[in-house]
Amino acid sequence: MKRTFTLLLSLLVLTSLMLVSCRPATQPATQQPAATTEAATGGTTEPAAFEPMVVEAPNCDYGGEFLRIEALDEYTVRFTLCYPDPAFPSKIAFSAFAIQPREWLEANGGSGELLTHPIGTGPYMVQQWVRGEQLVFTRFDNYWGDTALTPTLVFRWSTESAQRVLELQAGTVDGIDNPGPDDFAVIRNDPNLQLINRPALNIFYIGMNNTYPPFDDERVRQAIAMSIDRQRIVDQFYPEGSEVASHFTPCSIPNGCVGLPWYDFDPEAGRALLAEAGYPNGFDTKLFYRDVVRGYLPQVSNVAQDIQAQLLANLNIRAEIVVMESGAFLDAADSGQLDGLHLLGWGADFPDQTNFLDFHFGAGSSAQFGEKFPDIIENLQAAARLASDAERAPYYEAANNAIRQHVPMIPVAHGGSAVAFKATVQGAHSSPLGNENFSVMQIPGQDVFVWMQNAEPISLFCADETDGESLRACEQVAESLLAFEVGGTAVKPSLAERCEANQDLTVWTCYLRQGVQFHDGSMLDANDVVASYVLQWDAASPLHVGNTGAFTYFSSLFGGFLNADQ
């Protein structure tokens, strides 16, 4: 009897120990801002200790854009490039290149808590992320710019557009992303709500990986390109403000639409071409997608089913639909594992051709479309190094024509989308880049602002994320050297008061704003900038870990990693 009691007691103790160890880790720093501020003032009393960081590549043969990243003094950073880059300010304004304290990056080994708890300089700081439920931000009172208008910002998410609209109508959220196309009219007719259109600065495409047969045959890809009635897809499944894509890049981006427009819909020619390639009776394949709504693809499963029906009717290609989880789908696409057709899209991060073409088809792009095409890469590299749009035009024309020729993907539509808010929201706006800024929004007299987007962020370390739902959350917290104007695409100063280039645009010097405080109380200096960049740049760095370690934005926008072979 006594033994049983002892056994039971020890079991009970063991169980409670297990429960305690499963408890979520306590949040650091931000919980006690007072204490950390003191620590920080202690830290800044020793400016003499500043040892500027320098990281450089032995030469430019590794293929990337950076030659040297160095801190000149406490508030000056210099980027020496291997080739001229006129889009450099746009690139460093992008949120994948946000600055975090060097100590914080090192303390977490480039991953770990960085994924859930970024320390930035932004108007909001992460208070709590309840996975699967909500992400809560609190106002950062020591923000260097205008402090946020609402003390608490909450991100929620639902993949169901009906739920988003319903919650907005019920008043449980203050703003939502991407109402369903059928709900546009409903919101417009509701005096309590406002609908703000978002310009179609995006592309929805049908991707193919040329390392898997039969997509290794260019004729097969061309045949499919000719045999999808893209007008029908846009007419039936896209909201107002959408258009059929004549090129991969939207026309409002400089040089986006130079070169031949896409193939006309001609299923007869497509069938002939497919027969010539050896598939007169079509073939079996798969159609991969993730069932999430994005501005470029508002009705995912309907579009997927229509493409499936069109492939069958026009080419007798029997495509089996495979729906994947969002993160797994992006990983599989990036690593080139999708052996059929896949539906994906892209929203502009900054309004430049490099953001569209270089990211997808450039030298540093992922394995999404299989083997890369040298004639596309050459033209992109040549264009990226030229300063004016006019000079770049012929190269982008050639690149666009080469894309049309090789068909790594089929551009389908530039999708119009919208955001909706309560009518009482002041400062409501939509951003063509998808990075709505909530620090300028408020409902007078309300302490909490709730935003509901399409999906949960994958992680909050946006150096290693490409999903817009993650980027938007990061953008509230962490800032880059430069920034985009609220609701627009023009570049403005942020952590750097200005960035100056030399004559041939190969050396960029950024002068940091002084007195900028991080959320943990430490002060921004040039070494934080160098550390944040080098973490991504240097593949041999122990901090080059991230979420998946892909750092896709860096490699595609800046050509490649240092020490990539190690």
Partner: protein, 318 residues
């Protein structure tokens, strides 16, 4: 079933007052079933469903996967147009409207009946076959065999059935066949337990002892003597189980783990248009109604069968 020898003892007990001539258990069951209005309603709905499922390709006005873009002047999610109810005659008639991919909803609902019945019968047959074998072995052999089998069944039962089915489909990969397999697997324990209980009660009967004494082998006794007399609860459980299976399959398809597009399946039709519940309610109403009616039919029938087959309820029912 007709080959089975029904002990007169049972028939007499059940058929009170009619026992002058030998009446089989099944005749009695049918008579009792027909006296129950609810069971008749269930039987009627089921009859309609089976008819629709068998003749879908002839009675449906369109193919379930035919996209009407460019064929007719219709738009996605167009509301139902019924000529009898005043829809202009120059518009094509679609009595349940048009779905999100511009297909005729009515035709898809009709073809969906076929999927649902196949799902219901195949999963339950699968589960009954496996469950019966396991339950019968456990019940008859007893000892460690019984222990091992029933503990495994207990483990499976410990999981919520839909959750376990989702887990199984996640491992096997989405698709109708895998969903059927998953639902089949999670419903095995219910049948195994029912059969085991019946076998336990039947195996001590005199005629079993007699068969043993006559030198019948285990297989013969179990499958020829015991099982046929332990079937009644299984039939009830099976009928009710079909309803559950259809519901589970619809849930899996709703979640995108079961039937894959463009197959017309009620659960996936419901799931595909779930976001249009306010803007195009007809697209969620009809598949939902169809699922509800089917499940109701099997439940009514199952309840009726249970009452009809239960000798203790005989007086009340009769």
């Amino acid at each position: 079933m007709s080959k089975e020898t029904t002990p007169n003892k049972v028939a007499k007990l059940d058929a009170e007052g009619l026992s002058l001539k030998s009446v089989s258990l099944w005749q009695i069951t049918w008579r009792r079933l027909f006296k129950r209005k609810s069971a008749l309603v269930g039987l009627f709905i089921l009859g309609v469903l089976v008819f629709v499922a068998l003749t879908a390709q002839w009675i449906a006005p369109y193919s379930p996967i035919e996209v009407l873009i460019g064929v007719e002047d219709v738009t996605p999610r167009q509301a139902p147009c019924i000529h009898l109810l005043g829809c202009p005659k120059d518009q094509p008639q679609h009595i349940m409207g048009i779905d999100g991919n511009v297909r005729d909803q009515f035709s898809r609902i009709l073809h969906g009946a076929r999927q649902s019945l196949i799902i219901g019968f195949s999963t339950v047959t699968f589960a009954i076959v496996i469950g019966t074998v396991l339950g019968a072995l456990g019940g008859y052999l007893g000892g460690w065999v019984d222990n091992v089998i029933m503990r495994i069944m207990d483990v499976v039962l410990a999981f919520p059935s839909l959750l376990l089915a989702i887990a199984i489909v996640t491992v096997l990969g989405p698709g109708l066949v895998n969903a059927l397999l998953a639902i089949g697997i999670v419903s095995i324990p219910a049948y195994a337990r029912v059969v085991r209980a019946s076998v336990l009660s039947v195996r001590e009967m005199d005629y079993v002892s007699a068969a043993k004494a006559m030198g019948g082998n285990t297989f013969h006794i179990l499958f020829k003597r015991i099982l046929p007399n332990a079937l009644t609860p299984l039939i009830v459980q099976g009928t009710l189980g079909i309803a559950t299976a259809i519901l589970d399959a619809a849930a899996l398809s709703f979640l995108g783990l079961g039937a894959q597009p463009p197959l017309a399946e009620w659960g996936s039709m419901l799931g595909a248009e779930r976001n249009q519940v306010f803007t195009a309610p007809h697209l969620v109403f009809y598949p939902g109604l169809a699922i509800m009616l089917t499940v109701l039919a099997f439940n009514l029938l199952g309840d009726g069968l249970r009452d009809a087959l239960d000798p203790r309820l005989g007086h009340v029912a009769g």
